[in-house]
Symmetry: C3
């Protein structure tokens, strides 16, 4: 699909090797660094309050990921986030586990308010938890159907003035005036840990080279889905899938994208 | 072996996808999450004192693993452990490195006393260190032979009223009235980091679906050994072994288990 | 090259399985443990101030790696380092990110002064940052060319009385009276996270069996480069490269080394 220009962005990432500052969780530090390197970006992982402000000013995008959260890291997330906001560096927020515990939900809300992200990248249940938390005093009960997920993403997008990128069997990217669905992907993807976190890291790589946060979010999910399809072909299991997925990020070609990309703009 | 019913438990894990709460070490967070996903369980890694009590109540089993231990995490282990004990959620304790430093041995003892586990899953030297620590004032010297390891496991099992699962070339699972040896496995397994920790995580997955902690411990070690044999066939090295091991956990079949399982009940 | 005796050292590592104590970063804990196991060493990761002094006395070498640094770990690095210095256990320092933030540069300087390492293992930009920091008051501007990198490594080596091992397309190992270049390697190596940290960990394994820190540093880089070449042959991407690299560390033979090793002593 020409409008997305996924391939042009990939070429920019490969040639510019943008530095992506990640404050992310222990489970995925290795795999998200490898995914960023495979696509051509330059990852750095740094979380110490003594250095995050200095580090983020050298980066083209900042990932804040709440998996394996602890209170000492929230301080660093706020420090790095303020500096990124100040310097016009896009923040991609992944509220991992929002809704699973109050600590996660409240930290996600704190970051949404105090260090506004350009893009929130999450799964449907995390998006729902954030909307329900906002609605908590108004008696909204629950959000379950795809239509309700779309409405929740639209509500969050308007309320927080950011792009909302929801991963799932079909990915959904929402901004004020437009939405897009990415239909690519593979059923083995949820059987590998950290693919959602990799989606967030790649979204940051695209946000580093594309001034449109909406297109950056969509292109990242397109790349995820297509690389997932390539990795999943005749794949014996999730161990092999991981390996092949990194290989696909590295070797993906314009024709892979042209022949596979399936989207719905609405 | 019919009595173990490994396959029935695997089917239950695949269909129920039990949530396993892991407080585990940095080295293996990624690989244990992937092993749990591969077998069909749902891993969550969370260690913040602000959230572990809330998280564990949603889980079907709790892993407490002492690798890369630090004092701030002990507090979270105790909090999560108390809540698990209170809610009847099985705790699987892996005293990684017990015996290597006093800090590890004493933390293992602290957890054994204050948050009694259903299963202790460890290697022979860690089991010995716990028994020697209990015996410290009584002049017991050392424990080296297989017979002494069996006696140590029996002592620990009786003393702590828990199942003791000892991994090695032959795995040994001990309860008050019965013991079983699992003879499956592959010599490349000790050349991959974290396979012991994966054994612990899988033990938690089986404990989530099997009310007998003895059978859960035995079935997990049976799956480990058989998946290791499948992964090790014509395997060029430990890099490939890791990949194939996850693939085997994902694709293992009833006939793989029936044709390979070798046990000694005694 | 006979003088290096890479193969003899590998055989020693395989037969002695020396314990390597790593205080390293979250991103590479798993992959460096696996690399050490693949080559035949015994890794342990431990960072708690309560145990590092006890742990390091059991080890044959200590890795101190500054990636994902935080202030609480610096204390443990100093404690372990003092004990290692006291016990004659070689320290291999990897000043990851020195120069990227003041916190990293200053911590690297602190460790260089207070817990003198036997070997500093880093990339050219980290070496430069340390030299520039020493020169800060003297108006030295910058260091860019290979000749300047060599001079910087020589300066650091003399100033800190240690071996300096600089990884790059060509690796450079420097001591007071001699230098060696290792010309082996593969262009896919920088596309996998943590290979520099693996080089540091393997350097520790060689330092555990070879009394010459210069030869240990050179042999480790020779093994890295040759294993990289083997892994890189017809390699579809960095996912496969990782797997094959561990396999190569495990299966490398004397003839692989004899037929491939390319060095320049000067």
């Amino acid at each position: 699909m020409e409008n997305l220009m996924v391939w042009q962005d990939i070429q920019k990432i490969r040639s510019e090797a943008p530095l992506i500052h990640n404050i992310t969780n222990y489970v995925v530090m290795n795999t998200t660094a490898n995914a960023l390197l495979a696509v051509g970006a330059s990852p750095v992982m740094a979380h110490a309050p003594e250095e995050v402000e200095e580090m983020v000013t050298k980066a083209k995008a900042l990932v804040i990921n709440l998996g394996t959260l602890s209170i000492t890291w929230v301080n660093s997330m706020l420090k790095a986030g303020h500096m990124a906001n100040h310097g016009g560096i896009p923040i991609i927020l992944d509220p991992v586990g929002s809704g699973a515990t109050r600590f996660r939900t409240e930290t996600a809300q704190l970051l949404l308010r105090n260090t506004p992200p350009s893009i929130v990248r999450a799964n449907a249940s995390e998006i729902r938890s954030l909307v329900l938390a906002e609605h908590a005093t108004k008696g909204v009960e629950s959000i379950h159907t795809p239509e309700e997920t779309l409405e929740a993403a639209q509500f969050l997008s308007e309320n927080c003035r950011c792009i909302v990128s929801v991963s799932g069997a079909t990915d959904l990217i929402v901004e004020k005036s437009a939405s897009i669905r990415i239909l690519n992907g593979h059923p083995m993807m949820p059987r590998v840990t950290g693919l959602g976190c990799i989606a967030t890291a790649l979204t940051a790589a695209f946000a580093a080279v594309n001034p449109s946060m909406f297109l950056a979010a969509a292109n990242a999910m397109a790349l995820m889905g297509i690389a997932g399809e390539i990795a999943g072909e005749n794949c014996p299991g999730p161990g092999s899938f991981q390996t092949r997925f990194l290989d696909a990020l590295y070797s993906i070609s314009e024709s892979d994208i042209e022949s596979r990309l399936k989207t719905q703009l609405f």
